[in-house]
Amino acid sequence: MSLGGYVVRRLLQLVPIALGVTILVFFLIHLVPGDPARTILGNQATTVRVKLLRHAWGLDRPLPVQYLKFMGRLLHGDLGTSLFYSVGAGRLVLQRLPVTLWLIGFGAVLAVAIAVPLSAFAATHRDRLPDHIVRAVPLVGLGFPPFWLGIVLLLTFGLNLGRLFPVGGYGSGFTGHLHSMFLPALTVALGIAPILIRSLRAGLLEVFEAEYITTARSKGLPERRVLIRHALRNAIVSTVSVLGVNIGYLVGGTLVIEQVYAIPGIGQLMINSIFERDFPVVQAVTLVFSVMVVLVYLATDVAHALLDPRVRFD
């Protein structure tokens, strides 16, 4: 089976999941105890006004019909209208999306830059001191609430120690972004680094101890070639998988970090909308987050298939 065939197959597999995602997002509103319309208008509102709003929202129709209308609008790119801002929820999300994407990208780069060298270092010095130190990192690190870590970093580098970085916001221009987003991205990166290190180290060790490495050595190949052509080439396969899965976790982490550093991304939008009871926006942001995660998983699978010939032959 070719690569193209594999991609098509994965896309087809995604369809029921995508449907499931939309159903879940749709049902979010209906989980709200009580009447969403009344919740918006408050207890003082008259029954008539409540009824009108329910009708305007189509809440008086049966659920499946509501869902179909929801999907219909969705496929036209209409993510609903913000109750607070009276503009399309989709537009609001799109405005703030680049900021969050910056954070995710920067965070992912930093996470890889931290985790990969450390895990490689630990794996090549197995059971010696560097390995023990690196293995302690996930043990302690997983207990750090990411937002608290953000506050500590903010305290140390933003407020003390010469005020190296701004304490929040997005900055302007590319370098401005780099500067403002460094601490938040670092926080995000440190949040998933422990998990990454643990998985990467295990994956690398598995490669290093593999029989085919012994075979390569038995050919009398120089150690450098064994390491690069055989060990690394296989290690990349598992590394890419691990990175992909953890990026999903990373994406969710940005939500809280945006709060800590007051970054105007979609995470902050979601939190604000929650407190303003702006249902459509919350729905829209949830959906967009999910789309991002699914895309990352898909990209990971494709990259994995590209790198590992065993995958395509299913």
Partner: protein, 336 residues
């Protein structure tokens, strides 16, 4: 008699464990003449695999050669440094592993894996190395080699993968090929094919083989001489027919008697009572004496190095004549 291609003297291989040092090989000596096939036979834990790996310097991370000498073409590789050992690998000495699925790089085409040795070690051009790989695949009996060279290991059957391994072992023109139970992981029918292939390659190309196995029948089929290992030591050596017909060590005798379908005369099938010793704390004297039916007082103390007998035979048992007498009374192999 010419100089042996491989001479191992008093080899010792240790493992560093949490609970102390374990001698996986504790005094193994054997030699192989050029063009010959030596079988190294013993149960699991006898040290045969570690001895083999020591020959090519590919011991596991936690193990090391603690003593003895390994002379390949007169050169003691234990004294040599790692770069010299690396030079010898592939070009003078190569190895065939037991499980070809894990021993082949899963993300590299088999043709490239076979061509890698010639490319890097022999300095061939990419094209020539590829051509050589295809030739080798033909030599080891892989049908449609041009097409098969493009395949990945997981696309081939177990038998074909092992042939690929053999092709890799031959790729840099080695003088000595070490085989680590190459047929154990294969179906019986495929086993037979591979063994015949190894035999014919040996005869045609004149390579020397050291063949490790726990299966006496396989050794009998493939090798001309044999070294029997027990608890990290070589206890008997000699030509295969001689040793199997008239073993001169009780352990060898026990092994032979416990093989069910070995060509055979005797009705009762016995197995050796007891279990091999813990190599971290071996018994004093002869290591086999707790399980030996011929054991006497003098077996419990002292060292028991190999004694040279006549006709290129050696044994570590000081009561080997008692053993021989037992076989004469109750032969293992019928004279047919």
């Amino acid at each position: 008699m010419s100089e042996p291609l491989l001479r191992v003297t008093d080899l010792q291989v240790e493992f560093q464990l949490a609970r102390g040092i374990l001698r996986a090989v504790d005094g193994a000596s054997f030699e192989v003449q050029p063009g010959e096939a030596l079988g190294l036979v013993g149960e699991s834990g006898s040290g045969k695999t570690m001895a083999l790996r020591a020959l090519v310097g590919l011991l596991p991370r936690t193990a090391r050669i603690a003593g003895g000498s390994i002379e390949i073409d007169g050169e003691d590789i234990v004294r040599a440094d790692e770069s010299r050992r690396r030079e010898l690998r592939g070009h003078s000495v190569s190895m065939i592993f037991q499980e070809p699925m894990t021993a082949l790089n899963p993300v590299m085409r088999v043709g490239d894996q076979i061509a890698e040795g010639p490319l890097v070690r022999l300095g061939l051009t990419r094209r020539r190395a590829r051509e050589r790989a295809v030739e080798l695949m033909r030599l080891v009996g892989i049908p449609d080699p041009l097409r098969r060279a493009e395949a990945y290991p997981h696309e081939l059957s177990g038998g074909l993968r092992q042939r690929v391994m053999i092709a890799i072992a031959l790729s840099s023109d080695p003088k000595l090929i070490l085989c680590d139970e190459p047929t154990t992981a294969l179906d019986v029918t495929i086993q037979d094919q591979i063994l015949k292939l190894l035999r014919s390659l040996q005869e045609r190309l004149g390579v020397t083989l050291v063949f490790v196995s726990h299966d006496l029948a396989v050794i009998a089929q493939t090798c001309s001489s044999v070294a029997v290992m027990y608890a990290g030591q070589v206890v008997e050596t000699g030509r295969v027919e001689a040793v199997f017909r008239e073993p001169r060590h009780p352990y060898t005798l026990g092994l032979l008697r416990s093989v069910p379908d070995f060509d055979l005369v005797h009705e009762r099938l016995s197995s050796i009572p007891g279990a091999p010793p813990d190599l971290a704390a071996p018994p004093p004297g002869c290591r086999f004496h707790p399980r030996c039916s011929f054991a006497r007082e003098d077996c419990i103390h002292g060292d028991f190095p190999l004694l040279q007998l006549e006709h290129a035979r050696a044994t570590a048992c000081i009561h080997h004549d008692v053993c021989a007498e037992d076989v004469r009374r109750e032969p293992v192999i019928a004279d047919a």
